[in-house]
Amino acid sequence: MLQGQQFLFSVGNEVYFVHNQNSMNELKVESSETEKTTMEGNANGVDLSMRLDELQRRIERAKTLDENASSRPFELYVVAKKLAEVLMGSKIAGEILDNQEVINNAIAENGGDVNNIAENSVIVDAVAKDTAMQESVLSPGDAVRSWRENYYKAVNTANEKGVIDFSKKEDEEGVDMSYVQMADGSLYENNKTEKTAEESVDMSYVQMADGTLYNSVEQSNDERVESNAGHPEITNFASTSEKSEETKSSDRYEWNDIVRPLDGEVDDNGAGGGGNYGGNNGNGGSGGGGNNGGGNEGGPDSDESSPEGRGRLTEEEYDSKVEDWKKVVGAMRVATERREKIINDHENRIIWKLKNLGLKKMTTPLRLKIRKSFSNLKEKTKNLFGFGKKKVYEGTVETPLLQEYFPQPGENLSTIIKEQVLGVPEMSTLTQEQKDTIVQNLFTYAKKNPYMSMFDQVNTFSDAESIPSGTAIDLQMIKRLISFPVDEFGNKTIIEYSNNPS
């Protein structure tokens, strides 16, 4: 990150402004939630200091928070990841390396996709916004407006004091400060006044961090002046470049653009989560499918594999996508919470004990080597969890089963199990009568455990004559259900018990 470069993005209710302000490459981060603390007790009026280690500390602390504990770490991990991306080229990249493992593990733990962090940012924004609205906390719009007010004051104070001077094209060290790096990595010229036809970007629409589209050119110059009335210093800054009808819809950076929704009503997000920094594609996270900073004109049919080729989604499409992702994120969140409860506490205790014994650090390479070493102890691992029994079909190749099997018309669950699960080659020795018994035992056992979700599909369809069209049956789960020992059947598997009840 070049000195003087900055970018703005939002995650959930927090808006972050990051810039590399001095030759020490000290990371400066300001967040809307810390605005009070950052504005106090600072001589320059701009206290944006939060080094990466502080951010990491906040992430660790967020893990212990009860409220939204499962979502907060993910959001902050997104932040940490974004920071790592931006700071890759800086002198403090070394710090990033040490934290990269934590960041990646954290993202992976929380169901995020390391390679698609931009989409995750937007998704998290959407989910967090929805959550915030439902919980009646400060709306993202209010949070952003409040932050922006304070930020404008802070930056203009800093500008007056010469700490930041956006009117210069280059600083004393010759670093080009006329470019602003957006959250998606694209660069926008600061104070750019001209645009060639080839560079022309349709900036009449701005995509906010939550995917909402706003018509940014509907606001007239008069409205813009009026809206700046309370912030004359902002007008001063904004007027460093000439405004004309031609440049109104350009990608020229303007801080004071206030965009409105397409329907003309001022939306709660009117202040723009993370993106209005450029009066441009304000997408704080370069949301998947959205218009990115490169001025993508591609439609929905564009190749979505590259950022440049991604088409612009309609509002409905985006909303639908967000809804789908919410369900996934929600399910992952629940699973993560439970998993953390089961595994992390125990493992943390063990690691703590190991460190007390003298272990310096539990690194990923060490963890992998431990895993490999124990996996090589074949006999010993066979006895893992106390199961030393020989597998019924050990040594044979298992036929892969579908996790989503769509029944043919007229098929019921019994038929499916007998044909698809018990009809595989490795079970060819089973007679039809044995198969019937296995199915019956499975259904009976499932009915005795109606509240165990792993039997949901069995209990739902065991008595049905046919399965509704479009319903996917998890054959892998059914195979597992009949393949693990059950106390009720004398610690035999359902298959074994059915073949030999004694």
């Binding site: 390391v114 699973a335 690691i351 963890r367 070493s373 597992r480």
Partner: protein, 116 residues
């Protein structure tokens, strides 16, 4: 499964195929109540294994004489896990019952929330 972080450091996570398939089946079944997502359950199972291995290492270290323990910890800090296990073998520490006890306890811990 391969996770590619930003810095082109490829971390390859072994799949659960190293573990006994029977065990994996049972874990999938009991963990279904914890997560309906197979990929999530796969990851949890790997981590359960990790927890078992880590605790086994800890128990091995605890059972070693002090001088051998210091040697083992030094080796562990250099990621020499195989040599730690060799020390355990030389000191006649039978890993099998340790593994069994630990894995049973951890499985019970895994099962408990799943039943709630």
């Amino acid at each position: 499964m391969v996770i590619k972080p930003l810095l082109n450091i490829v971390i390859i996570l072994p799949s659960p195929k190293f573990m006994n398939q029977e065990i994996i089946n049972k874990l999938h079944a009991v963990l279904y109540t914890v997560s309906p997502l197979a990929s999530e359950r796969d990851r949890m199972i790997e981590e359960i294994g990790d927890t078992v291995w880590l605790e086994t290492i800890e128990q091995i270290l605890v059972r070693l004489p002090e001088d051998r323990r210091a040697e083992a910890i030094a080796l562990l800090n250099e990621d020499e896990v195989e040599k730690v296990l060799e020390i355990a073998e030389r000191e006649a520490i039978d890993i099998t019952p340790i593994l069994e006890d630990i894995s049973k306890n951890i499985l019970n811990e895994v099962l408990l929330p799943a039943k709630e």
